[in-house]
Structures are given as C-alpha cells and as structure tokens.
C-alpha cells in the first residue's frame, strides 16, 4: 500500500493474519501427520 502524505511517500506492507494463521495450522497438521506416518512405518518395518 503506497501512502502519500504531506511528509512524503511511504510504503506499508499489508499482512493478512487470517491467511498466515490458516497456512500455519495446515502446515503444522500436515507435518505432524507425515512425521508420525514415517516413524510408524520405520518402526514397524
């Protein structure tokens, strides 16, 4: 987002907290499922 003010021109990055949270939860659950599946497969042979 470009902001033009009397002091000058500034650029502010916009972070979507909802997307960051959802992506984090999805990654954490996928990583947990993948790690547990790999470990179980390795242990069982």
């Amino acid at each position: 987002m470009i902001e033009l003010a009397p002091e000058g021109v500034r650029v502010h990055p916009v972070y979507d907290q909802t997307r960051i949270t959802l992506a984090g939860i999805t990654f954490a659950s996928t990583a947990a499922a993948l790690a547990s599946r790999t470990l179980l497969k390795l242990l069982r042979g």
Binding site: L4, P6, G8, L22, A35, T38
Partner: protein, 213 residues
C-alpha cells in the same frame, strides 16, 4: 508416417516495466514492476507447454519538481506458498529416509535393491520395460502444428498482462492518498498430442491470476 521431432526447453525471462500512476499533489509517481516468467516446453508425439509468471512492483519513483526519490516496495511472502514449499521439502526428506532405511534392510537380508535408474537401464538392455513387460508398439504420427500455434497465441494474452494491473484506484482522505498495490501471479499451460488415427490431435489451455499484496 513421419517421425515427430521431440525436445525439451526451459526459458527464464526477467523484464522491468514502468507504470505511470499519475500526479498526486505535485508528486509524480512512476513505479517499476518486475515481470518474471518461466517457460517450460516438452514436445514429441505429444507436447506440453507451461508458462508461470509473476508481476512484482519493486520500487516507486517519486518525481517532485527537480527532486527525484525512490521508495522500495518490500516483498511480502505468500503464507500458502511458503507452507506448500516446506511441506514438499518434508515429503522429500521422508521419502529419502524411507528409501535409505529400506535399502539398508534389504542389504542386511542379502537382497540388495537396484536404484530405479539402474533398474530401468537393465530392463532396456533386456528389451523390456522396468516391470518386465515387453515394450509397447509405438505409433508415430505428425503433430498437428496448427493446434500448438493457436494455443501459443491464446497463452500470450495472459503472458502480456499489463503491469498496471498491480495497482488499484487511488483513494483520498483529507491530505492523504492511498494506492493499493498487489503482486500478480499467473500460470498458463496447454498440451497437444497425436497417436492412433493419423490425423488425430488436440489441445487445451488454462490460466489464473491472483493478487497477493
């Protein structure tokens, strides 16, 4: 029946474009947009072409009278892209670990396994496929070039999307003006093929544009 030419190609293109945003309170804004494209192509009895591109605003040039200034636009990583990239790395690590453990167990039991590449090479030298089946009869026909040309024309519509799509309409409130900025990504893919009846062929195309900032 003529044998179709085959090949594989990849091309990475980076271009910088300027966008005229106009004059706002004696300041003229001229952002620079980086256009990066990756084009991949495989051709033979069938062909696939994939084009991935990104339009990313990098700097805003501010001209105010005789004074020129540049304001950098920071890149904001898409959380979903980061998440998918990490997941793919984890999958690759899990696969490599599984393969390594499997190989060690096979060696310990005296049944050493061949690497997949060696398995394919050995099968080819025997005149079979990797699973031991006899090779299929391949029918080579000419690739209908008209289809590929038409699809390439269609793909160029998205590939040449103007850089001004990264900027929204300016909104003024009091003595401040705000201009929304977005990163645009797109992907175009199509394929064609032939086989069976001598004149058979086909193609398809798809594209996507997404703003992420």
């Amino acid at each position: 029946m003529a044998e179709a030419t085959s090949g594989l190609g990849a091309l990475v293109i980076t271009e910088v474009e300027h966008v005229e945003l106009g004059r706002f309170r004696a300041r003229e804004l001229r952002p620079r947009v980086e256009r990066r494209q990756i084009r991949l192509g495989v051709g033979g009895r069938f062909g696939v072409r994939l084009s991935l591109g990104r339009l990313r605003p990098v700097v805003v040039e501010v001209h105010e009278g005789a004074r020129d200034d540049e304001v950098a636009i920071p890149a904001v990583a898409d959380p979903w892209v980061t998440s998918v990239r990490r997941t793919l790395m984890l999958c690759a690590a899990a696969l490599a670990l599984g393969w390594w453990v499997d190989r060690r167990r096979a060696r310990a039991s005296g049944h050493d396994r061949l690497w997949p590449v060696r398995r394919v090479r050995r099968a080819r030298s025997r005149g079979t496929c990797a699973r031991g089946h006899p090779p299929r009869d391949r029918v080579q026909t000419e690739v209908p070039i008209e289809n590929a040309e038409a699809m390439r024309e269609l793909a160029q519509v998205l590939e040449r999307a103007p850089a001004s799509h990264c900027f929204g309409t300016a909104v003024s409130a009091g003595d401040r003006t705000v201009i929304p900025v977005a990163e645009v990504t797109y992907g175009v893919g199509f394929g064609w093929g032939s086989g069976g009846p001598p004149d058979a062929g086909g193609g398809g195309a798809g594209g996507r544009a997404r703003g992420s900032r």
